[in-house]
């Protein structure tokens, strides 16, 4: 068992995260990536940690600004080449950027393989926002095969990876198929209580877990 490096996630999972886990976070479209940014920031603070964020239809500048707005300083990680951007829409620029194209999935695999191979002696932590755009651009069967291979590849390295998916945009069969390949599935949603927006999270799938109720997600650095 390992810690996620993010107290909010560890609280939800009771510290029972299996080694080399692939975690799927199902969420509503448009939800912010605050939890994922905190996860990457915390896991790359020391020199043993390498992180990457794979995204679509954004630029690294926009993402770096979002880290800043959240009060997370990642300059050291970027300068020391321990935090990378895998841009699936080929719009980002800079030394920490690895470009690929969502409609040519082998380029995404190439980007991931390059990063994993060149950091194989380190703890690699990743956030991958790939599934929803990939499912929009390709047949679900192809994405299932691709994702299945990606999960197997990630497990050969010292990794902990969060995959994001917008659950309401996909049919149940596709979602179930994707879930079946993940070690842990978390479901998040936004609710409004007394004019305050709260993020709720529940464990939808994890070996040995019995608590499937929603709890409030509180982010503390």
């Amino acid at each position: 068992m390992i810690k996620s490096g993010c107290a909010a996630i560890d609280r939800v999972l009771n510290g029972k995260l299996p080694d080399k886990s692939v975690v799927l976070i199902e969420r509503d479209p448009g939800m912010k990536d605050s939890l994922e940014r905190l996860f990457l920031h915390n896991n790359t603070k020391n020199k043993q940690g390498v992180g990457y964020y794979a995204y679509f239809n954004e630029t690294n500048k926009e993402i770096e600004d979002a880290f800043k707005e959240q009060g997370l300083d990642i300059n050291k990680q970027l300068n020391e080449k321990r935090l990378f951007w895998i841009d699936e829409s080929n719009r980002s620029e800079g030394e920490n950027v690895i470009s690929c194209k969502i409609d040519e999935l082998f380029t995404v695999e190439l980007a991931m393989l390059q990063l994993l191979e060149s950091n194989k002696d380190k703890k690699i932590r990743g956030v991958v926002h790939l599934l929803t755009p990939a499912l929009m651009a390709n047949e679900p069967v192809l994405i299932y095969q691709f994702f299945s291979y990606l999960v197997n590849t990630l497990k050969k390295y010292n990794t902990l990876t969060i995959f994001l998916i917008e659950q309401n945009l996909h049919d149940e069969t596709t979602l179930k198929a994707i879930e079946s390949l993940c070690d842990v599935v978390l479901e998040t949603k936004l609710v409004s209580e007394d004019y305050v927006i709260k993020t709720l999270v529940r464990v939808k799938k994890m070996k040995g877990n019995t608590d499937t109720k929603f709890h409030e997600l509180k982010l503390v650095q």
Partner: protein
């Protein structure tokens, strides 16, 4: 005169070779390499064919003395013409040579299904990919193949036809390979 067999034989395990041939030597060249890998070294391998359909290719290889029993074929050309009739556990058919992601996924499945730790991949050919894809895409795919082969610890032979390649592509792909054997202006010495 270059002895192709010796050139390939002397390479360290898990090397990746770019083999540049001219049109006249094409079959001589691939038969020579396959005889070495399949017959002499008895390695299981993956043959990605973009030129000849699986049925025709397998017959040709067998007739010319190549042991095809440990070869797994990824055929990306048959379905561009007709629905293949020959379906078995030694072949995956793909829609066309443009679907590079399909080729990569088929390669994953094939590499996992082949027994043993020593195996090879035979890509026939980069030049044909150029008919269906942009040069930069082919270069990126060649890079992908080499990274993939290294991560899977398998030996690789990438075939290219001199007449169909531009120098820039050869230069780019050469950087990813351990050795470039350019026989396009040579006579192949058959052992």
């Amino acid at each position: 005169m270059i002895n192709l067999r010796k050139e390939i034989e002397n390479l360290p395990d898990k090397s990746i070779v770019l083999l540049i041939l001219n049109v006249r030597q094409y079959y001589e060249g691939i038969l020579e390499v396959l005889k070495l890998l399949c017959n002499d070294q008895a390695l299981p391998g993956i043959y990605i064919t973009l030129n000849k359909p699986y049925g025709t290719l397998k017959e040709l290889l067998r007739d010319r003395g190549v042991d095809t029993t440990k070869l797994f074929f990824i055929d990306a050309i048959s379905q561009t013409v007709t629905q293949p009739k020959l379906v078995n556990h030694h072949v995956i058919y793909l829609p066309n040579p443009q679907s590079l992601t399909d080729i990569s996924l088929a390669m994953n499945a094939a590499a996992e299904s082949l027994p043993g730790s020593k195996k090879f991949l035979f890509m026939d050919s980069l030049s044909t990919l150029l008919i269906y894809n942009e040069t930069q895409t082919v270069a990126k795919f060649a890079h992908f193949l080499t990274v993939k082969m290294r991560s899977l610890n398998i030996k690789g032979v990438l075939i290219a036809l001199r007449q169909m390649l531009d120098e820039e592509l050869i230069f780019e792909v050469s950087q990813y390979c351990d050795k470039v054997i350019d026989l396009s202006s040579e006579v192949i010495e058959i052992a």
